[in-house]
Symmetry: C2
Subunit: 250 residues, 2 copies
Amino acid sequence: MTPRSAPDRLLSVLAAFDHEHPALSLTDISRRAGLSLTTAHRLVGALTEWGALERDPDGVYHVGLRLWEVAALAPRGLALRQVALPYLEDLYEATHENVQLAVRDGGEVVYIEWLSGRSAVGVHIRVGARWPLHATGVGLALLAHDEPARQEEYCAGPLAAFTPYTITRPERLRRELAEVRRTGVAVSSRQVTDDALSVAAAVRGPGGAVVAAVSVVVPEADAQVPVLAPAVRIAARGISRALGWRPEEA
Amino acid sequence: MTPRSAPDRLLSVLAAFDHEHPALSLTDISRRAGLSLTTAHRLVGALTEWGALERDPDGVYHVGLRLWEVAALAPRGLALRQVALPYLEDLYEATHENVQLAVRDGGEVVYIEWLSGRSAVGVHIRVGARWPLHATGVGLALLAHDEPARQEEYCAGPLAAFTPYTITRPERLRRELAEVRRTGVAVSSRQVTDDALSVAAAVRGPGGAVVAAVSVVVPEADAQVPVLAPAVRIAARGISRALGWRPEEA
């Protein structure tokens, strides 16, 4: 085994937890983190004492409230979400559909917020979930405003397919992104699951750079894109303004 | 300086960030964490590489997206919030007032969710903020259902005052808690700021234990407690059921 630094070992304990493994025994943690039971015991003890982990009465560990409080300060996590939430609520009240806020991390989108609509379509995305850029509305909105070189690198692929409708050909993705820039909205139809459609728009920060994207996901069968598009664009502009974006200065 | 363990030093870097200090330079971190600049540099490097911290182009550090993703797994943080959010949205739609979800940590409440109403009163509570139990509606709802010994220990004080209306006498707090148990709702009037009133109810987990509290905060001047109380109780019961609570088994 490669020698590992002390910070690396401690962080590997935190990394042992994910959506499929939100609660772990000490043995699970030691195995998933690649640590001896003795080392895992010592590190878990320190993390528990600090509050980064919490221990159930039955000896199972999960992520603790103290870590959540620190993480709430992440500008691209809860902090962005706090600024955006009133506008997401407005979008939800106007549409009563699934409303999302997402940011980009490399070639993926990470969902920062998810308000569930009544007509929940077969999309099971959770806060903290990741999805490739080209398949989702928010991903297309983020990619369309990326700098040309990075955009082209992504377009060149490979582009994974999730349904028969997922964009997998580079030239089609390039056309789609040009359309997003022209219209100001991104539409992803049946690309993630074969019954859902999303309409998304980019959110800009103080200097005009795209920092996030907002979207609505509806059942594809009765999706009214011309009705949803203005609502999504207005919500995105509202969040951008709240973040300090000034279109008149652009 | 006391010798400190490796986990303790790494966690002290994370603890350097709080609501008043969401963005810090390396020098700030070293000073606030009580670490030498060399040690701070090494630990900040490891945390940044992992994604727990992110570095701005101007060299300022803030909490990173990766930490937020791990923290989203905290059952008493985002995970609880995800279950509760539809019911909080319903409460918000019914009242259009500030809606909160909070959990207990020792003698304090920590706000897990906060939906802002239109008639925002002079209450500046953020997600992740803390407040003493006896001053807030959610705190009274949580304290009222605590085990008698722990409850009595808290009631004995000292009880800090934030306005002239804050409950500071143990016997008055005990009466108030008995009233919460009798009615099923907690009312905190002008105890935190002198213009706000909150109505709260306890949220129960699968076994019936109180795990959180939900509340509405309104301007005290035109607060209609008899109208708000049933709405808050219904929202609290909805979240409790979604968490697996079964009143018929109690």
